[in-house]
Amino acid sequence: MENGAVLDVRRLQFSYKGRPALFGVTFTVQERSIHGFVGPNGAGKTTTLKILATLLKPQGGSVRIFDRDVVRDYKEVRQKLGFMPDHLGMYPQMTVFEYLDFFAAAYGMSTPERNKVIDEVLTLTDMEGRKDDFIRTLSRGMQQRVSLARVLAHDPKLLLLDEPASGLDPRGRIELMEILKELRRMGKTVFISSHILTELTTLCDSITIIDRGRTKYSGPMDALLAQGGDVVEYILTLAQEHPATEEALRELQGVTDVRRMEDGPSYLVTFNRQTLDVNQVLKLVLETGAQVVSLRLNVRHLNEAFMDLTEPGVPT
């Protein structure tokens, strides 16, 4: 396993009744990070998650969690992970407290331990006021919170979350993201599969994109968004039109392209960071007498990266 990696997946393969779903998916997840897992419908996300959760056995390749094999050492692995499936799968006739008490007891906790842990997870998920309510009377968002509380009840080090934000309203989604950030601060590693790319961009430290059972990208989020190697793009916005600046930038060594943008006096400046530093660019602009409003790195949105890396259409 790589240094600091809690999850190591190599050449993972799986088929459903002869129909291949995964063709050698490979990625690693670092400790105390939030790792996004995205892909179009039918890409193999849920299958991968079920294998990580020890619910399915891999048919090829290897999956190690905390340096333990998910097939051979499944009992140890289960103690260390918490899996929240894409369906809620709850006992609607139980109260929130009974539900959490049941799962905490199933992980061998004593009554005082359970009392403490249930209070903690309910506080974290902001459900302490509803603990004696029946699950069937809760809204979907609240049930999601209880489901997350259940996953946290035995204090797992790794959380596998399959579409935790599906069906939540915007407030619910934002609150869920805050809870996940808090969990990272508490030292947990979060592996999250989601279709809501906007939120993943700010939430995740790293990301894996899969399509049709194959890994298309796996690595830091920054590197994906700033993809293009040493060639970078910066957006320069001036207070007013200043033609001399554009001329000076074109003549600067290392600058490969200067394009005027449609909205106001802004330019898209492309240069090679091996030969040119952004500070040198800024210095030159100021020397031309232009009044700079902003100079910022032009990062791609995750949506764009996703569209570039995945193929259109439904897998057949």
Binding site: K50, A53, T54, L55, L56, K75, R78, Q79, F83, P85, H87, L88, G89, M90, Y91, P92, Q93, M94, T95, F97, E98, D101, F102, F103, A104, A105, A106, Y107, G108, T111, R114, D132, F134, R136, R150
Partner: protein, 515 residues
């Protein structure tokens, strides 16, 4: 068929016609009949009138098949739409209640009729084996067809009025048991009450009840089968039973139609009910759910699937009332001198039978519910083996049988001689062991079937067990000749299938959790 009222009906028929399962069911039923026929022919040397024996078996098997399948399949017609929350969408399409009821129910009843028609020509072969007339065969099929319509109507009403399929099936079964058992039990209670002087045997109440019970007996397919099986049967195939069953079936269809809107106006959650399970904040918390035990699966199963402490009390009270009724009403009417020892024996037998029935019922529900509510994956992720999970669930169900055990013990104390004789008879003979293995196999079969089919795992398990026994018993018996060898061989076969099912249950649980 282009009338709007038949839109759903014709669509259901077309869909059923394309299903492989429809043809498989017909083929299996015909195969069972052919196998029974061969079995009857093979054993004809040892039995008189093999045709009648085969016909007898075929009719009873079909009656049982209709009863079990009817309770499950017919009672889910509307309730399954309610559970899936799709009934509202169906109503929004503009289909009126009659077309929905016809489309959902009549197509299934018609499927059953087709099944009977496929079987009919093969049953006619019983005539060639001897002992059966054509009139008997026709009368039997008229009886079965009318019973099918009766059950279809009854189950449809239960399906319309209940929110969940399990409740609908339970209500159908209860009403069916009342239909079959009330004339018998009611008459005994009535005679008992008359013998102790509570009511006059010539009074209006006694006469009215006796008349009602007689009508019910005449309308019962069981009475009709007994009549048809008599040698020299020459009655009309369309008797009171046929007309009354058809009439009641149509009546329940009309009631379902009239009450359809009332019962389906609101879309309500189909979440399992929580009856008499008090929360920790309730005044009745001491008899409530309480905290999870150190074996939480046993706790969950005991409280949330079998009813918990309050249900134990309810069962104990019902058993006490039943035995009191037997001792004070039924007994005096049948036996001149009530005997405490005999009451003890009855308590043991009734408790044991009810315990087995309830256990089979739980076996057929426990995994099915987990799968239905998508909780199986969460359970399988617990750091315990699937075997442990199954045994803990079983332990929870066994706890629910405590009242039966208590009354069994009381019975054993009242009748120690019969207890010891019975124990020796069961444990000391191959027949006793075969009986135990039979029950264990049915438990496994019910649990396995509940993981295979969505509804009716128990019914299917009972049917398979019944058909299996009906087919293999005579064949094995006459092949081995010696009774002891036959019993040992049969026990080994049962043991083999039990082990096989045990392994398959574990595998299927793991597979279902990953789905």
């Amino acid at each position: 068929m282009s009338m709007p009222v038949f839109v759903l009906f014709s669509r259901s028929l077309a869909l059923d016609g394309r299903k492989f399962l429809t043809y498989l069911a017909r083929m299996l039923l015909v195969l069972i009949i052919i196998f029974s026929l061969l079995s009857a022919q093979a054993t004809s040397g040892a039995m008189g009138a093999p045709g009648l024996s085969f016909f007898h078996g075929a009719v009873w098997t079909t009656w049982l098949f209709i009863s079990l399948a009817g309770v499950v399949l017919f009672s889910s017609v509307i309730s399954e739409e309610k559970e899936e929350m799709t009934l509202g969408l169906l109503k929004m399409t503009g289909l009126n209640p009659v077309s929905i009821l016809l489309g959902k129910s009549a197509s299934r009843v018609l499927g059953g009729i087709f099944l009977l028609l496929a079987q009919f020509p093969f049953t006619l072969l019983a005539i060639t084996l001897g002992g059966v007339s054509l009139g008997q065969v026709i009368a039997a099929y008229c009886m079965l067809l009318s019973y099918l319509v009766f059950l279809g109507g009854l189950a449809l009403f239960c399906s319309v009025s209940c929110r969940r399929t399990a409740s609908a099936a339970g209500l159908t079964l209860l009403l069916l048991l009342v239909f079959f058992l009330l004339p018998w039990l009611g008459q005994m209670m009535l005679d008992g009450a008359a013998s102790v002087g509570w009511i006059s045997p010539t009074g209006g109440f006694h006469v009215a009840c006796t008349t009602l019970f007689q009508w019910m007996r005449d309308a019962s397919p069981i009475t009709r089968i007994e009549t048809i099986m008599q040698t020299g049967f020459a009655e009309s195939p369309i008797g009171f039973q046929v007309l009354s069953n058809l009439g009641v079936g149509v009546f329940f269809f009309l009631v379902s139609w009239l009450t359809f809107e009332r019962f389906t106006r609101e879309q309500k959650t189909a979440a399992p009910a929580r009856i008499l399970l008090f929360r920790r904040t309730s005044l009745f918390a001491p008899v409530g759910v309480g905290r999870a035990w150190s074996r939480p699966l046993i706790w969950k199963e005991f409280h949330f699937d079998t009813g918990g402490k309050v249900m134990l009390g309810v069962k104990a009270a019902l058993l006490a009332v039943t035995f009191a009724v037997i001792a004070h009403f039924i007994w005096p009417a049948r036996i001149s001198r009530p005997d405490v020892e005999q009451l003890g024996t009855v308590m043991m037998v009734v408790s044991l039978v009810l315990a087995v029935v309830e256990l089979i019922f739980h076996a057929g529900r426990t995994f099915n519910k987990e799968h239905k509510w998508q909780t199986l994956s969460s359970l399988m992720l617990l750091p315990i083996t699937p075997q442990r999970l199954v045994y803990h669930k079983l332990a929870g169900c066994l706890l629910a049988l405590t009242p039966y055990l208590a009354f069994f013990c009381v019975g054993a104390i009242l009748s120690p001689q019969d207890f010891l004789t019975g124990l020796k008879g069961i444990l000391g003979s191959p027949a006793g062991w075969m009986g135990i293995l039979q029950v264990v196999l049915i438990l496994h079969l019910a649990a396995y079937m509940s993981l295979v089919v969505r509804y009716g795992g128990v019914a299917l398990a009972l049917l398979i067990a019944y058909v299996g026994n009906t087919l293999t018993f005579p064949l094995f018996f006459f092949s081995f000749g010696n009774v002891t060898v036959f019993l040992i061989m049969q026990s080994l076969v049962l043991l083999f299938f039990t082990v096989l099912l045990h392994v398959q249950i574990m595998r299927r649980l793991v597979r279902k959790a990953g789905e």
